[in-house]
Every structure is written in C-alpha cells, then in structure tokens.
Point group: C2
Chain length 256, copies 2
Amino acid sequence: MKTKPLILVTNDDGIRAPGLRSLIEVMTKIGEVVVVAPDSPRSGMGHAITINSPLHCDKIKVTDGPQLEYSCSGTPADCVKLAINELLNKKPDLCVSGINHGSNSSINVVYSGTMSAAIEAGIEGVPAIGFSLLDFKWNADFKPLKKYIKKISLEALEKGIPKDVVLNVNFPLLQNTKIKGMKICRQARAHWIEEFDKRTNPMGREYYWLTGTFINEDKGEDTDEWALNNGFISIVPTQFDLTAHHSLQRLNTWTL
Amino acid sequence: MKTKPLILVTNDDGIRAPGLRSLIEVMTKIGEVVVVAPDSPRSGMGHAITINSPLHCDKIKVTDGPQLEYSCSGTPADCVKLAINELLNKKPDLCVSGINHGSNSSINVVYSGTMSAAIEAGIEGVPAIGFSLLDFKWNADFKPLKKYIKKISLEALEKGIPKDVVLNVNFPLLQNTKIKGMKICRQARAHWIEEFDKRTNPMGREYYWLTGTFINEDKGEDTDEWALNNGFISIVPTQFDLTAHHSLQRLNTWTL
C-alpha cells in the first residue's frame, strides 16, 4: 500500500478508555487515524442501534497525536455507521475496535459492543478486527499487546481478511508469564449461568442485579477458551451470516 | 407430550404490543404460558444486556387469559435471562419471541431485539423461535398468521429444534393475496446504506437521525428475502456459533 491506509478506530468502553488510547497509539504508526467512539461506556450493548432518538457527534481531542476524534452519543454500531456513511470522505481500509477491557471470547461475542462495532464495519464491506484483553480493570496494562496488534493489523492490511469475516482477537490475562503466541481458533461452546441478586430499594420496591458464572462446555484444543487458558492470543474468524446451514436439511423434513 | 408444555413468551416491542398479544393468544391454546417482556419498546436493541443498572420486574396483567405476565425494565435478552434463571421454577419447553412489528429477515437478524431474546433462550438450552411480520404498523393484522405460528410451534415441540439452533420466522406483508406456504431458507446477504438526516436543534447544536435503505445483494431462491418477496413465510435456522469455519484454513496461512 503506497498511501497511508485510512483506519477507523472505535470501542464500547467510551472515548476516554485507556484501551482505546493504546489502540490509537498503535494505529497512528500504521496509517491515518479517525476515531469515532461512544461518549461514555456502552458495555454489553450487543449490536444495538439508535432508531428512536437523535444522535449527537462532537469533534474533540482527548489525547495528543495526529488522529481526528469524534465523540458520539450512540452505540458502538452507531459510531461505525456514522463514521462510514457521514463523517469519512472515503471508505476506511481497516476498522479496529477496542482494546476492550474484558473478554469477548466464546459466547461473549454475542453480547459484545466491541465486536458489534467490528461486525457492523464488516457488514458495510470494511475489513475489521475487534481486540479485547481478559482484564476488566480500567488501568490494565495494554503495553505488552501493542506489538501483536500491530502485526495482526499489518497482516490484515496486506493479505486481506476473508470476505464477510471479522476477526475477534482476545488477549490472555498474564501476570508473570509471557504470551506464548497467536492461534487461529473456533468459538468455544459456552454459556453463562445467571444469578440475580435480588434487593429492596429504600422505597420498598424490589430490584435485581444481573451477575453470572461463565460455563465452558467445550474442551476442544482448537477453541479460543483453550488458547486463552494456555497463554495464547486467540483469533476467531467471525461471520454475520447466522444461517445454521448444517440444519437446513433436517428442518426440511418438518411437515409445514 | 402428556403434560402441558411450559412456554415463555417475550418480545422487543414491549409488553403492550399487539404482536405480543396475538402470540400469547396462540400459545395459551398450546401450553402453560408465562410472559416476561420489556415494559416499553426496545427495537434495534440487538443482544444488549443490562450490566450497569438494576432491573425491575413487576407482575402485571395486560389482557385477560390464563397467562402469567411480568413487565421488566430490561432488554429482551434480560427478560429471557430473568425468566429462566429467576422467575420460572422449571426450564421452559419453548420460548417464543414476537410477533415483531417489522422485518427480522436477512441482516436485520443482527440488530433484532426479538431474535436476541430467542437466541438468548437458545444459548440457555431452551428451544426458541422468533416471529416477525413485515409490517411496522402498530395495528397490523396479525390474525392470518396465527394458524402458521401454531403449526410451527407444535412441530418444534414435537420434533425438536436442532441443538444450538434458533428459528427466525418472518411473515410477508400481504394485502390482497394469500400466503403461499412456508419455506426453510438461508439468510440473504444484504446490508443497509445509512443516510444521516442532519438537523440543528433550537440551541444551535447539530444532531442526526439514522435512516437507511435496505440493499439485498443476494438473488438466491433459497434465501429468506426471495421467499418473503414471493409470498412465502421464511424460516431460517439461526446459530450463535459465529465462527467462520470455512475461513480457518486461509487464516492459518498468515504469518503470526
């Protein structure tokens, strides 16, 4: 690529999140960067879009650097729609989302605002990658991730991501050990068992907090969960054709 | 099935929506019905869940009938989590979501609150079906759909929906013609081209309304779009393993 690639950067933890700032630092070394991110955290937003209320979008500058930045009142998917269809004057060469503070591996991909932004870009024909670190802390250490993010992004720009596929990249939480490498994986079969913490407010009305326990039912060594639990970075090619093609034939035996 | 099946009913248009009321009427003829639905419309919510604020849930009665009803302050996915993990004392035999006022065919499945509720049930191991009518009107005529919904639901209860698969059922908008039948389909490849309607509020601040045009790039006669445009009900088996298995091999050629 002779001219600098145009890179759209977004996330779901909000435009001031340290994970986003780390991602911007890596991307400004690779290309021309435009940031369009939610004005406040939007975790667990899934692929929500804003239909029934107006969107605000302000040009701001959170940290020094060559990047352009826009703060948006919408969801992560809104940010991508607004960027591609309104704010940018050409289609980005790459869209990166994250670095998410927390896991988007296995079934978490379904609830993830980070991945919904990347998927939205993919739907609109823009190569896209979501990055997440298995650490919920606001001040998590993103520094060791940078060289891997650069490598994956450059490879994506050079080789191209398969059509209608978006990459879901998760980094393991490491304390004293080092990252062992990267693995192309499939999404592990897993689910959450919810526990609702039931309380009573000062006015006597009951309410619930959603909490839960993650259950991995899938011990396959080709899964993202296995990779992450064994010190590897997981890269799952993720698609938005949700058709369960393998079950078409069985359903055709139904009497309808 | 000797005892009456337990059926969980939910939606994304809110507990007072006529589409939900029609679905309840069908389901009370089949089984024991518990309704857990959002207290107000939650369209375009995708698979959002409520992590950062408490959930309220009130037992109410909107229309006469044998069903139990709960109105919930959360998203469609929250409603299903709350129902399965907290409100019901056994796992439902079926979860139905809808009838959505509007289309959830092709790429719309990704943005759909209706389908996110069905998918959440699927993730938790409950057979699930989302129903939608291609008519956004609040007073749309749901009556002609009832016999089809009953047939599909009875077939699902009897034959079982394949594991890790959720059905996405869409009904065509018909004026003077009749429904031609039902078709098992794949999700058409399509996307929206967004148009942002930019305005200025009385205080001089700019804002946007999200609007768009649906673009179907896929003329396949095995797609949901083809079926709906030709007077058929489309049934797409939908999965929540988002892995693009076909692209694993190609990504393994990357230098990582």
